[in-house]
């Protein structure tokens, strides 16, 4: 029995190592492990990081990237109250209609509206960005191998000059962690790109960290409730199974 379990464990290990290699093979340099507060079993989002990250998104990313799956009302989750959300929404105009005359019209955004996209359609987005399409950021953390570390790596991995001998195409930028190293997005963040409302020092690392955490939340807004529920579920199942196992021993003991 023990030998069987060893054999199973060994083969499983082999296979997972193989799958890991296969995944890693496609990308460029492996982005370094950055420290995140919310990734552990009990990890929760830091509301300060989330709100600062939202500010970075609003002031920097949002000029090219959409955030289709996030409505203003969702910002309740990251610690804004209803009045703050109304004020944030009021900064945006959204198209509504048709009205009684059959015309579309613009109005001030409400909490129930989704973040307006910076471009009307992918063609317009490409036309304004040298042919490259800035992807929607709602689930970007889940949509890239390496997730958060990759995102953080991209945001902090720019180099002003490509290394010698590297052919950089016209209008492209050099990035350590982007597959192929040539990325169309110009370096989005730099020191003091944003003046933080809470007075935190806006270093490049701080900005990249905060906006990554914000995008981790937009990708997995259920993260906190998921882990909290998971803990209860696991404790319940563990106790249930232990009790059943005791009952099983007792029931079977009567057999002989």
């Amino acid at each position: 029995m023990r030998a069987q379990l060893f054999a199973i464990a060994a083969t499983l290990g082999l296979v997972f190592a193989g799958i890991g290699n296969a995944v890693a093979a496609g990308s460029a340099a492996e982005p370094p492990d950055h420290e995140w507060q919310h990734t552990g079993v009990f990890g929760t989002f830091d509301r300060g990081e989330l709100q600062r990250g939202f500010q970075v998104f609003q002031e920097v990313c949002a000029s090219c990237h959409s955030l289709d799956f996030i409505a203003f009302r969702n910002l309740l989750d990251i610690g804004f109250d209803v009045d703050q959300i109304k004020a944030i929404a009021a900064e945006y105009e959204v198209e509504d209609g048709p009205d009684n005359e059959g015309e579309m019209f613009m109005r001030t955004a409400k909490g129930s509206d989704y973040f307006p996209a910076p471009f009307a359609n992918p063609q317009a987005a490409r036309a304004s960005n040298g042919g490259a399409f800035p992807p929607d950021l709602s689930v970007i953390v889940k949509a890239r191998d390496g997730g958060l570390n990759y995102l953080y790596g991209i945001l902090t991995g720019y180099e002003e000059e490509a290394p010698e001998g590297f052919e950089l195409a016209e209008g492209m930028n050099y990035n350590h962690y982007f597959p192929g190293h040539q990325i169309a997005m110009p370096e989005p963040l730099y020191e003091e790109a944003v003046e933080y409302a809470d007075g935190t020092e806006p270093t490049l690392e701080q900005l990249a960290h905060d906006v990554s955490v914000f995008l981790a939340w937009t990708a997995e807004p259920e993260l906190e409730i998921r882990k909290k529920t998971g803990l209860k579920v696991l404790i319940f199942i563990a106790i249930f199974t232990a009790l059943i196992y005791i009952i099983k021993r007792r029931v079977w003991a009567k057999l002989h």
């Binding site: 029995m1 082999l14 296969a22 949509a143 998971g230 196992y245 057999l255």
Partner: protein
């Protein structure tokens, strides 16, 4: 009938007209099961439970999902964000599919190890193989529904395999697509079929159980039940033993659902399907990787498809390929070795399937594929003729009691060092 429930008049009244109480009693309570079933015998009922989990979560997901190329991806995110506990339903369903396959694969390999496919259980085994086929179809169709990049491209690659069929392939694949490529009509019918297949699955599971309850369970010794002393009633003994396995399974499933919900998924499936952008690596879900390796091991498209289908269809004739009269690997010392080599071969195929077809993977994949078929077509037929099996115990209860009374007081599982103690008693 002697069940205590029959004391009640209302139960008598119903049972006289529709014998559901007698039937339940016969099949879930008094059903005589061999007294020596080990924990590997949990996995059949666990598979049944997973089918129920998939159907319940699936029905709820279908209430909120929109099968249209413009809305499928968005409605999936709607489930994740706006539907109460929608994220849990979706993660349960997605990871539940993996759990279902884990459990079923263990169930199948338990059958390999203990010779459960041998006479008189061939039709029971056939139904099992049919269940595997239906599961594969159902999970493939389901994977397409979120309409991410991998959904779309997996659907394209897999449906294109049908075009390898000579003469009618092209026509057939266009008929399946409902057009000239994977598009909205394809998504629509895949949704419809994904909802249909689990109910066909239920029907085949019913036949599987019918055959099982007719000829009764095999057991770790692989010898027939000879007297009532060899059996114990299903309840409470195996209901409670199955519940232990159920607890462990749900614990593992919960770890994935709540803490690693996307570990088994592909990140690019969170990018909406784009027919104009081909992903660099198109890989199926882990449970298809061995077959994918076999498909790609053959340098010819039609040949690859035939090999892939044959790798499962060969299981239909397994009861006749394995010529040994002895069922359980406990008494087949050489088969036991080949069993583990075969299991390792399947893992190697999975590993090759996860990697691109290049370098040494090509050769490893081909060797592993040849070995896969050689196991069934050469090793098993010959082993039955040349292997010297160990003596079988007289009966199940003698073997069990010999073990209980013998040196084995440590409570070790009945599977360890099989030959020594029961063999001595016989």
């Amino acid at each position: 009938m002697t069940t205590p429930l029959h004391r009640y008049r209302i139960v008598q009244w119903i049972d006289y007209r529709l014998p559901i109480f007698s039937w339940t009693n016969e099949h879930l309570v008094e059903y005589p099961a061999p007294r020596n079933l080990n924990y590997w015998w949990n996995f059949g009922s666990l598979a049944g439970i997973m089918l129920v989990v998939q159907i319940i979560t699936g029905i709820i997901l279908a209430m909120h999902y929109t099968p249209h190329v413009d809305y499928a991806f968005n409605s999936t995110e709607h489930i994740m964000r706006d539907v109460e506990w929608g994220w849990m339903m979706r993660y349960l369903h997605a990871n539940g599919a993996s759990m279902f396959f884990v459990v079923v694969y263990i169930h199948i390999f338990r059958g390999f190890y203990y010779g459960s496919y041998k006479s008189p259980r061939e039709i029971l085994w056939w139904m099992g193989v049919l269940i595997l086929f239906l599961m594969m179809g159902s999970s493939f169709l389901g994977y397409v529904l979120p309409w991410g990049q991998m959904s779309f491209w997996a659907a394209t690659v897999i449906t294109n395999l049908i075009s390898a069929i000579p003469w009618i392939g092209e026509t057939l694949v266009q008929w399946l697509w409902g057009g000239f490529s994977v598009a909205n009509p394809t998504l629509n019918r895949f949704f419809s079929l994904h909802y249909l297949l689990p109910f066909l699955l239920c029907a085949v599971v019913f036949i599987h159980l019918w055959a099982l309850h007719h000829r009764k369970s095999n057991n770790p010794l692989g010898i027939d039940v000879k007297s009532p002393k060899d059996t114990i009633p299903f309840s409470p003994y195996y209901t409670v033993k199955d519940l232990v396995g159920l607890g462990v399974m749900f614990f593992v499933l919960a770890i994935f659902v709540f803490y690693l919900p996307n570990f088994l998924g592909e990140s690019i499936n969170y990018i909406k399907a784009d027919p104009l952008v081909t992903p660099p690596h198109i890989v199926p879900e882990w449970y298809f990787l061995p077959y994918y390796a076999i498909l790609r091991a053959v340098p010819d498209k039609l040949g690859g498809v035939i090999a892939m289908v044959a790798s499962i269809a060969i299981l239909f004739v397994l009861p006749w390929l394995d010529t040994s009269k002895v069922r359980s690997a406990r008494f087949r010392p050489i088969y036991k070795q080949f069993f583990w080599i075969f299991l390792a071969d399947c893992f190697v195929l999975g590993w090759v399937g996860a990697n691109p077809v290049e370098g040494s993977f090509i050769l490893i994949g081909r060797i592993a594929t040849v070995y896969y078929f050689a196991h069934f077509l050469i090793i098993l037929p010959l082993l039955g003729k040349f292997e010297r099996t160990k003596p079988l115990p007289e009966s199940i209860h003698q073997a069990v009691l010999a073990k209980k009374g013998g040196a084995d007081a440590s409570g070790a599982p009945p599977d360890s060092s099989a030959g020594s103690s029961p063999g001595g008693a016989a």
